[in-house]
Point group: D2
Chain length 138, copies 4
Amino acid sequence: MTAVSFEYNIDVSWGDCDPAGIIYYPNYFNWFDATFHAFLKSRNLDQRILEQKLGTLGTGLIDVGASFKAPITYGDLLSISLTLGSWSDKTLRLAYEGHCNGSTVIVGHELRGLFMRDHNTGKISAASIKPLRALIEA
Amino acid sequence: MTAVSFEYNIDVSWGDCDPAGIIYYPNYFNWFDATFHAFLKSRNLDQRILEQKLGTLGTGLIDVGASFKAPITYGDLLSISLTLGSWSDKTLRLAYEGHCNGSTVIVGHELRGLFMRDHNTGKISAASIKPLRALIEA
Amino acid sequence: MTAVSFEYNIDVSWGDCDPAGIIYYPNYFNWFDATFHAFLKSRNLDQRILEQKLGTLGTGLIDVGASFKAPITYGDLLSISLTLGSWSDKTLRLAYEGHCNGSTVIVGHELRGLFMRDHNTGKISAASIKPLRALIEA
Amino acid sequence: MTAVSFEYNIDVSWGDCDPAGIIYYPNYFNWFDATFHAFLKSRNLDQRILEQKLGTLGTGLIDVGASFKAPITYGDLLSISLTLGSWSDKTLRLAYEGHCNGSTVIVGHELRGLFMRDHNTGKISAASIKPLRALIEA
């Protein structure tokens, strides 16, 4: 099976940058998250549809990380590629790379689970992720 | 003279929304700001170039406002149009309208000045905006 | 009846500022919103409790605006005061003032409604705000 | 030598949460960053002072990561503790833990460098971090 990948582009804006004139780093995670949700939408599987189909609360985060390779600034065009990595019983690993002007500027990952709310206790916990895998691989 | 206008599109994402499932309103101002900076960039007049040409610190805000006409949510496509309004000696008024699925969802404005830092006192204040007008109308 | 007011303090941080070194303006609306929600919480009336008591989706925005009086930067302490203004059948007007080092740096307002979702159509609209007024004035 | 640590508190607000009603995860990195800058400020070493003393552009990120242990929501009080970890020639490792109601909700780290701009090329790169270490340990 070939790797599933998806691309999302961001025009880095003035307000995305800090007083050093470079991207304020938490914004990269906004864009990782937006890339993942745009991927789901491209498969007609947004959170609303997952909630209807699977009764889930959302595809939340278990672990996340990133390494910053080069600073970029407003006016730059950032292209983020998402690659679906490995699945475990309760997790999906997503690999991200951000490119700008032919250079890699960030490499990161998200480990996501499929969260449900227990209607008795109100507690949120990770359920089996197999139903999501089945929908994505359909 | 015909009105100068510019359009900027936003894929509203999961993270742009609040627990009510609709856009968390401060995000609209991120997008107004991003629209204005994208407009400047489209004229090859971003803040870096304005700093070089005019010695300015940036095109900062004097007044801003918005009326919310209808709530929208993740998965929606928001299209923001900017129209250059009136100029005074020190200000430029920008009108914004956001549309989604054929409806107007937000109407707003920004009143911007051209800010400079006094090198003796360190104070920031609004300078004449005529040099910016000349560049935009060139 | 004396005016109801409430104060909220923000340590302006590096990441709140733009490449000009001053607050990126949409952040002020994050803080207006946070001030209002902290006020509700101080009255034991957060959105969760309002949802339970009134069946509402949230206290959303109808109109908002602000005038910027002076730029401030990271390291500054911003104190925002909220004052409950006038009520109409469907709206509550809130007045905000931000102070720093004894100067007024921002003056703004929010016009809020009490939003409900129609369970038949799924549409969100503003309901009577009287039940919220009764709870706040209790 | 005992570990250097610092604590920063956040009132989690409505606007910090996503449609699932829990914290939108990139906000945790805003708070890690704000905690670090509040720590520097507590030592009278903010970016402005470091720029004056060391000629640096800022204390930027090389690597960052976090594991999410439990979801929290608006109305919760999040307490983030920062602990200064190991120094290398060009990096400082910071460990973060977030607590809420006696539970650990997030464990993370930042690897930071001291960035300078080369005045000939305009390029930004990590310099020796020893001058920062000397100031912090003074």
